[in-house]
């Protein structure tokens, strides 16, 4: 067990930062395998000494959300593909410490069928990655379900990296075969929700407020 008072006195008498001349003080407060959190990407070694490795980052919490004016239009975080879709009245993107929740609503211009929309040929839209707080690399593909108004048809889509952009695409639609309401230009509402989980090294420092450092030496 350390004697904290003696430790503090020694530190002040030497008028030096912990670890500058000896790791003994550092070892008593932050032994190897301790973790400290900083609110920017400043290595703790500049203050404490020792060797520290960044092991994780957390996003700062923020959101782009508007019930009447889609975030995609006012904030350019997400841009709908206007060839195929009309942005509807809801678009929400909420960035949490370890994931980004995306909730989109749009209206079809093409018929919602597996003839018109399949194999990722129809892009719903794309993200502005830097606004989202992630880099160009490190996309992690994910499937999601698209519900169409009335639930007579359901689609599945894919969120994936496509060159230098991250696209949200339609993979396929399935339905009961007799649906007639989802023809071209009917403006049926479509809903989709999915989560983005970027690896921490692909989170922009400017979008993070917690940096986890592990002392390795």
């Amino acid at each position: 067990m350390i004697n904290l008072k003696q430790l503090l006195l020694k530190l002040l008498q030497r008028n030096q930062k912990i670890g500058e001349s000896s790791n003994s003080y550092l070892n008593q407060i932050y032994p190897i395998n301790s973790v400290v959190i900083t609110n920017n990407n400043n290595n703790p070694s500049t203050i404490y000494g020792g060797t520290w490795t960044l092991i994780h980052k957390d996003f700062s919490i923020t959101s782009w959300e508007d019930g009447t004016s889609p975030a995609s239009q006012t904030d350019t975080v997400f841009t709908f593909n206007s060839t195929y879709w009309t942005p509807a009245n809801y678009c929400a993107i909420i960035r949490c410490p370890n994931f980004i929740m995306v909730r989109l609503q749009c209206q079809n211009k093409l018929a919602l069928s597996n003839t018109n929309m399949k194999d990722n040929t129809v892009q719903i839209g794309s993200f502005n990655l830097s606004r989202l707080g992630i880099t160009e690399d490190g996309g992690f593909s994910q499937m999601f379900v698209i519900g169409a108004d009335g639930l007579n048809m359901t689609g599945m889509g894919r969120f994936r990296k496509n060159g230098n952009t991250w696209d949200v695409c339609v993979d396929d639609w399935v339905g009961n075969g007799t649906v007639t309401a989802y023809t071209s230009g009917t403006g049926s509402n479509c809903y989709l929700t999915f989560y983005i989980y970027p690896r921490f090294e692909y989170k922009l420092d400017s979008a993070c407020d917690k940096f986890y450092w592990k002392r390795t030496a």
Binding site: L12, I55, N114, S141, R199
Partner: protein, 213 residues
């Protein structure tokens, strides 16, 4: 950023008030209710004093991608799924926070449409989780049709080390999904542990300790 020198000065200036006991300094630096994070399962009480309880831990990040469909911990169903030589298979697993995130692509070998269409098994122990459950399932999509729902049936209704990716039912749009048509199939889902104890210490890099006394 902490200004440690100022903190130390304040601690010493309060010496006359708080006395000289080690516990008093500990109470100033880490009062009851404080949290301390370690990268391994080492209790801060061993060097700081006080009583500390483990309240959370998180996985170290692991990104594993298959090489020609082969990934330790993944066993494809050779009856239902085509071998890599016929059509590409790919699977990636991202371990982060408290979960495994799985994304897989493969091709059918037998006709699609039957209930309980088993695709592959995931062994959670290969990724540092002694048992888990599927959540956040997004269905299994085959080219032109969709399966809604996946089963977790080994055993049913309790966490398991074997996560079964199985299409429970299919909603059919086309008719071209007979055996060996090589229709592309795809899914993504998450696996979560049932408790902290299901997360192996060796697979974690953040242990959160709360001072309780």
């Amino acid at each position: 950023m902490i200004n440690l020198k100022k903190l130390l000065l304040k601690l010493l200036q309060k010496e006359t008030i708080i006395g000289e006991s080690n516990e008093s300094y500990l109470n100033l630096m880490y009062p009851i209710g404080s949290e301390f994070i370690t990268a391994t399962n080492m209790n801060p009480g061993t060097w700081l004093g006080g009583t500390w309880t483990l309240v959370d831990k998180q996985f170290s990040q692991l990104y594993a991608a298959s090489n020609e469909g082969v990934l330790t911990g993944i066993t494809w169903d050779s009856t239902n799924v085509q071998p890599h030589a016929t059509n590409a298979r790919n699977i990636t697993v991202l371990r982060t926070g408290h979960t495994l995130k799985v994304y897989a692509v493969w091709y059918n070998k037998v006709a699609i449409g039957e209930d309980d269409f088993h695709c592959f098994d995931l062994d959670t122990t290969a990724f540092g989780m002694s048992s888990g459950r599927i959540c956040g399932q997004q269905g299994i999509e085959a080219d032109g049709l969709a399966a809604i729902g996946m089963s977790h049936d080994t055993p049913a209704y309790s966490p398991s080390a074997t996560i079964s990716c199985t299409a429970e039912d299919w909603v059919t749009y086309g008719t071209s999904y007979s055996a060996n048509t090589g229709s592309g199939m795809i899914t993504s889902f998450e696996v979560v542990p049932g408790s902290l104890s299901a997360m192996n210490d060796s697979a974690c890099d953040r242990f959160y300790w709360k001072r309780t006394a």
